[in-house]
Amino acid sequence: MTMQLDSKIPAGPLADKWTKYKSTIPLVAPNNKPRIEVLVIGTGLAGAAAAATMAEAGYKVKAFCFQDSPRRAHSIAAQGGINAAKNYQNDGDSVYRLFYDTIKGGDYRSREANVHRLAEVSTSIIDQCVAQGVPFARDYGGLLTNRSFGGVQVRRTFYARGQTGQQLLLGAYSALSRQVGKGAVEMFNRHEMLDVVKIDGVARGIIARNLITGELERHFGHAVVLATGGYGNVFYLSTNAMGSNVTAAWKAHKKGAFFGNPCYTQIHPTCIPVSGDHQSKLTLMSESLRNDGRVWVPKKIEDRLKDPLTLSEDERDYYLERRYPAFGNLVPRDVASRAAKVACDEGRSVNKTGLAVYLDFKDAIARDGKDAIEARYGNLFEMYQRITDENPYERPMRIFPAVHYTMGGLWVDYDLGTSVPGLYAAGEANFSDHGANRLGASALMQGLADGYFVLPYTIGKYLSTQIRQPAISTDHPAFAKAEKEVEDRLNRLANSSGTKTVDEFHKRLGKIMWDNCGMSRNAEGLTQAIADIQDLQKEFWANVRVPGGTKEFNPELEKAGRVADFLELGELMCRDALNRNESCGGHFREEYRTPEGEALRNDEDYTYVAAWEYAGENQEPILNKEPLEFENVELKTRSYK
């Protein structure tokens, strides 16, 4: 049985919805706020911004992260930039254009009202960050400067050298630290949330494990916010940080929160190729590089391993410029990644593994000079050289697509509320505003939009109904029960007497996912993958070896719990990909493509969000559909030609 999902989109014209919503929702009076407790799980851009802003507003906030400091959240690694419709470059940008580009870039699989709100608040983000001291790039007149990013034709991306995420996160971290210093936020570093506690159908708290001592803790909140990031590490190899995981979102899912579009994965076109079996993660080379770098492979297969410097212009195939003349090297990520795969599948890859294409700066250096290129990308070039031992100023970089971002996540309504009352999701953890494909520099925008400008308002609507709700004692049986379940599971992992390491299972899962649910997918492969993952789940619980005990600092135990959740998520992702009989954005089903090999959507049957409901252990999940209605944008075939 499926249910009708209420996305709670406010009525009225698109451009007025948010303003009207903000001025008419019920508020919590200042004197009531200090009695209301909010738990924020995750202190990356979304969580740190939300925790700081809610504390400023007067709520009592507890915040959690698994790293040793909020400053180390995965957001820190974002390189290229953050979008905002400031139109400082006077090149025709506007809120509407950012909205439109995002809808189109997402291949018409996101919600109009949410995306418009995102575009509206984008400008305030830049103001807020500059006020906090975020050192965005400036020109000689002292004003902010912008770069362009894939998939759009205006310059709206603000950046801080190649480390925009670092500077934005340090800004949010400073705002959070200020509230911690004031006692308005209680910060729990090295804590991992392992379950949501529900009382009478409503989220009322969490169970968290202190990662230093291993002790389990109970925390009450009138509302719980998950800002726990994306789940790209289900593929084992990705550009995500080692600890990035799905655990918090997955536990919420099992407690009733629907999971939206789990199969929408972004494969980023420019990453450093895999060098061997030992590889633990992949390193991104920012998309901004495509502003100046030209992507190519040799025309002839027999030239593929020749020294690139000896190949003349005639012998090179700048395939993006050839196939997509209007956007050239700046096509969106999904398009660029698939084109790289096609070139490599044709046998023209430029390294021994068969998985690499060139990104060449020769012409840009000749045009602008080495110094200019160094000023733009110096730290990226340095990182490339450190990893590969090759100098990109002298030879083209070798790059290949890698898993980077997950558009899927917990289903949320306009309020960012999940399908469990009192449980909210923000940042990459929610199924978000990016549809089937995220445009570059839009994740930072969404994380900070959710954290600073959306959630602190929308959650107020719910909290205004909670002012008479006294804090619930964590002695409540629901807390005891949840804690017991968490403890049993940890014991099961720690007491398992198998022979195989957690990493071994994780690698095997990653391979199944990459081969069958990665850059291209088909029904046969997905069906097989589901069966293989189910076998792997059984084998994991029967044969994993986890050293050490539960009541101690035990990184392997943490990993084991996360991989166990990835094993379940992977199955759901394959089911979702199998259900979606179309190609859209990052989801490319081989059966559904145009004669030229481009993605072929099926708007008639699949213009909906797939919101999966957990149905119990070994039960098939239930598919709920949220139809997407487009009142302002006409659905078109995406073309970058």
Binding site: A49, A52, T53, Q67, D68, S69, R71, R72, H74, I76, A77, S124, D127, Q128, C129, V130, A131, Q132, G133, P135, F136, R138, G142, L143, A160, R161, Q163, G165, Q166, S174, A175, S177, R178, V180, G181, N189, I212, A241, M242, G243, S275, G276, H278, S280, K281, L284, M383, R386, I387, D389, Y452, F453, T499, T501, D503, E504, R545, P547, E552, F553
Partner: protein, 249 residues
């Protein structure tokens, strides 16, 4: 290649630690240093031994989580490189490598190579911010900042908070870390109003945490993976002096 490792093992904050010998075979020169430790740990787990605990997350040299002293140097032999970005081509077949935690009174060992650096968070909480509530900001271009000032502030802002400066310093001083944040914020017009108070409070917290004094050896700058300059320390000293003689707090 094959390496002999001498690794600091310590069960918990209160236990005694000691150096334990290990060997790893099949080390590929394209591996990162942490991937080499992954290989060791996989072996240890299969053998039923306790794997070596160490902190890490991004493995891209930006989160500041990885933290170990390799052959006596925080983050090892490569200049301006974190442990996670150090690659095994830096070592020779048969070499002996010492691996120890960052050591300082203000960084107690949690287990093996993992230490507690929450003292750094508390220094930031004492004043490493600009007091602006969400929604209070003016338009981002309303205050131009000349490019040179912006770039210098940026250089200071690139600190990743790893603590190598403390580990490198014979006094375990946190002056480079603290001064980088003070310099970043104090240089910007937005940071101006809280300049004196910020400096005084952050320095006071630094002292309270038990970090040592700065005797200008420059070891911090030499080992900093981000090349944060000790001119920031001089700048902070000037700011501190000014703030305390004018009595503004």
């Amino acid at each position: 290649m094959k390496l002999n490792l001498k690794i600091w093992r310590q069960k918990g904050p209160k236990s005694e630690g000691k150096i334990v010998d290990y060997t790893v075979d099949h080390v590929d020169e394209d591996m990162s240093f942490l991937e080499m430790l992954d290989v060791l740990n996989q072996d240890l787990i299969v053998k039923g031994e306790d794997p070596v605990a160490f902190d890490h997350d991004c493995r891209e040299g930006i989160c500041g989580m990885c933290s170990m002293v390799i052959n006596g140097r925080p983050h090892g032999p490569w200049e301006r490189t974190t442990t996670c970005q150090l690659h095994m081509r830096a070592f020779k077949d048969g070499e002996t490598v010492f691996i120890e935690p960052f050591r300082a009174n203000a960084f107690p060992v949690l287990k093996d190579l993992a230490v507690d650096r929450s003292s750094f968070d508390r220094i930031i909480q004492a004043g490493g911010y600009i007091s602006v509530n969400t929604g209070n900001a003016v338009d981002a271009n309303s205050i131009p900042i000349d490019k040179e000032t912006a770039d210098t502030a940026f250089d200071a802002a690139t600190c990743i908070g790893c603590g190598a400066c403390v580990a490198a310093c014979k006094n375990a001083s946190a002056m480079l870390f603290t001064s980088a944040k003070v310099a970043h914020l104090n240089m910007l017009p937005q940071g101006e109003p809280e300049r004196a108070k910020r400096t005084v409070q952050m320095v006071a917290q630094m002292d309270k945490e038990g970090f040592g004094a700065c005797t200008n050896t420059g070891a911090c700058e030499a080992e900093c993976p981000k090349g944060i300059s000790i001119t920031n320390i001089a700048r902070m000293n000037r700011e501190y002096f000014k703030a305390t003689i004018t009595g503004s707090k």
